[in-house]
């Protein structure tokens, strides 16, 4: 009898927890927030953008089964779930950005511009303007993330096609090249005119350098400057087992956020940021030993997150729907790590950093968790076990936050009820 009772109680608890999980699309959020599954299985949804009227566009990493790679999602009946889902374009990529009736989308070597009509339907699906072309794309870190400043300049991440600029990439014992020849055409942020067509390297400007790979970037309208989040280097322990243990590699280097101005250098590949020593440390490929500091002319990060979590999107929250502490703060979507193995992985959540006057004003915190689909407090052991991996972020005019997943292609809508 006692056992039966226990079973019943357990069953009820289980039922409640499952119902609760479904209620917020499986996400764990601060009190007062709600999440809905806006869409699912749309394909590997990388970045997302949303128009004034609330139509959401997602850029797919590869074309989906129907051969479309820009997906348009509309929630006409305003129930929080997109029911009108269409698409076009046949190239994979990451970047998407909307301003007014201009929709920008990137492949791994070009940026295109589409025109939207009054209903946010695309007008020139098969004949976009080519804004930028001929950008380096050598598989590794090939994603071209984009954002615009208020004047209409477009900033493009051109990731380094390398881990640490070794003569032979990711090969133990191979030295770092000096100077690193990658930096003339990759490993930084390039600035172009957002309206001019057919631009390439010669028409643009290397705006910031020494950035291994930036996928998340956003213009901060308070400080009127560009902020970026970098994916730090991998495999310190695999290549330098005498200098770094598995445990140290799992915490080094920090995933970093910088405010970059024209001409800034963030130090890659010569130095990395150690979030425990709070120092820029010379990379072992360049003679470092885990302690020697370097990078005197390189920026210090404004925020250092735990290693390898892979920041995929950065978004400054402008709305009034969320509580006041979120206003002007930064949301960061963390894809989740792989290079902490053999230790458990980290990330697979959306983090928040409060900002005041255009500068971080407090510690970062986890905002939305549970994307992995694993029970609370269970870490992802292997990346493929994660049900969803946060990638894109977008904010609608009414202040709702959307998060895309580039694993199977879910879009989560997060709202706050006053």
């Amino acid at each position: 009898m006692k056992k039966q009772l226990q079973l019943i109680v357990f069953g009820c608890l289980l039922g409640v927890s499952i119902a609760h999980a479904q209620e917020n699309a499986g996400l764990k959020l601060p009190a007062g927030f709600k999440a809905q599954l806006f869409a699912e299985n749309i394909g590997q949804a990388r970045h997302i953008a949303i128009t004034q009227s609330g139509v959401l566009f997602a850029k797919l990493n590869y074309p989906n089964k129907e051969g479309k790679s820009i997906i348009r999602l509309e929630d006409k009946n305003k129930d929080g779930v997109a029911e009108n889902i269409t698409g076009w374009a046949n190239y994979g990529g990451t970047g998407i950005y909307v301003r007014g009736d201009n929709l920008y989308a990137s492949s791994d070597d070009a940026v295109y511009q589409y025109k939207l009509d009054a209903n946010d339907e695309v007008l020139n699906a098969s004949s976009p303007n080519t804004i930028i072309q001929g950008l380096l794309s050598r598989r590794q870190h090939a994603s071209k993330s984009i954002t615009l400043d208020p004047k209409g300049n477009i900033y493009v991440n051109i990731g380094a096609y390398s881990n640490a600029c070794q003569e032979k990439d990711r090969t133990p014992g191979s030295k770092g090249m000096l100077p690193c020849p990658i930096l003339d055409s990759a490993g930084g942020i390039w600035k172009f005119d957002g309206l001019k067509t057919n631009q390439t390297y010669i028409d643009g400007k290397r705006y910031a350098t020494g950035l291994r790979n930036v996928i998340g970037l956003d213009w901060n309208t308070t400080s009127n400057s560009l902020f970026v989040t970098q994916h730090g280097r991998d495999q310190l322990n695999s290549f330098f087992p005498a200098l770094y243990t598995n445990e140290q590699n799992a915490e080094l280097p920090g995933e970093t956020m910088y405010e970059v101005k024209e001409g800034d250098d963030c130090g890659w590949p010569y130095v990395y940021y150690d979030p425990i020593q709070h120092k820029k440390i010379i990379s072992p490929e360049y003679g470092g030993d885990g302690k020697k500091v370097g990078g005197d002319n390189a920026l210090d990060p404004l925020v250092a997150f735990p290693a390898h979590m892979a920041p995929m999107s950065l978004l400054f929250y402008k709305g009034d729907q969320f509580p006041a502490k979120y206003k002007d703060g930064a949301f960061i979507a963390f894809h989740g790590s792989w290079n902490r193995a053999p230790l458990p992985q980290e990330g697979y959540f959306v983090a928040f950093v409060p900002f005041k006057n255009g500068k971080p004003s407090g510690d970062w915190e986890i905002f939305a968790n549970g994307f992995s689909g694993l029970p609370a407090d269970t870490k992802v052991a292997n990346p493929r076990n994660a049900k969803a991996r946060p990638c894109g972020l977008a904010e609608s005019a009414d202040g709702a936050l959307y998060v895309s997943d580039d694993s199977k292609g879910a879009i989560f809508k997060i709202t706050f009820n006053k």
Partner: protein, 130 residues
């Protein structure tokens, strides 16, 4: 009841440590050279590092290709079972033919993989041909 549990616990502990300490050559090579990218479950990392578990190439019959990828690395766009993986596979000049055979056998028989072993003779033959 609790006695049975205790005994099975002891046995499990014994097997766990026995395996950990005496792990095969292939398992040791996998853990030191491959695991960080291909992961403990052989699942790889979506879009970055190719999976080994259930991969058609890995359990297939083209042993020469597998041997060469381990020895000389692979720096082309990796297309596998409908997906693409962007990270380069480094060369492993320091592995002996015995170690390559052992790690390939380990990979081909681990997780859900149930392919035939790879012999040292096969590895030597394919490395000579280059």
């Amino acid at each position: 009841m609790s006695k049975k549990l205790f005994v099975s616990f002891l046995l499990l502990t014994f097997f766990y440590f026995a395996k950990g300490q005496n792990g095969t050559v292939g398992e040791k090579v996998y853990k030191t050279k491959c695991l960080v990218c291909h992961q403990a479950d052989g699942g790889g990392v979506p879009n970055l590092n190719a999976p080994l578990d259930g991969a058609t190439n890995v359990v297939g019959n083209d042993i020469a290709r597998l041997v060469k990828i381990i020895r000389y690395g692979y720096n082309e766009r990796i297309a596998l079972d409908g997906f693409y993986y962007s990270n380069a596979m480094p060369a492993n000049a320091d592995l002996t033919s015995t170690q390559i055979a052992a790690v390939l056998t380990y990979i081909r028989k681990s997780w859900s993989n149930q392919a035939a072993e790879v012999t040292v003779a096969q590895v030597q033959k394919h490395l000579k041909k280059k």
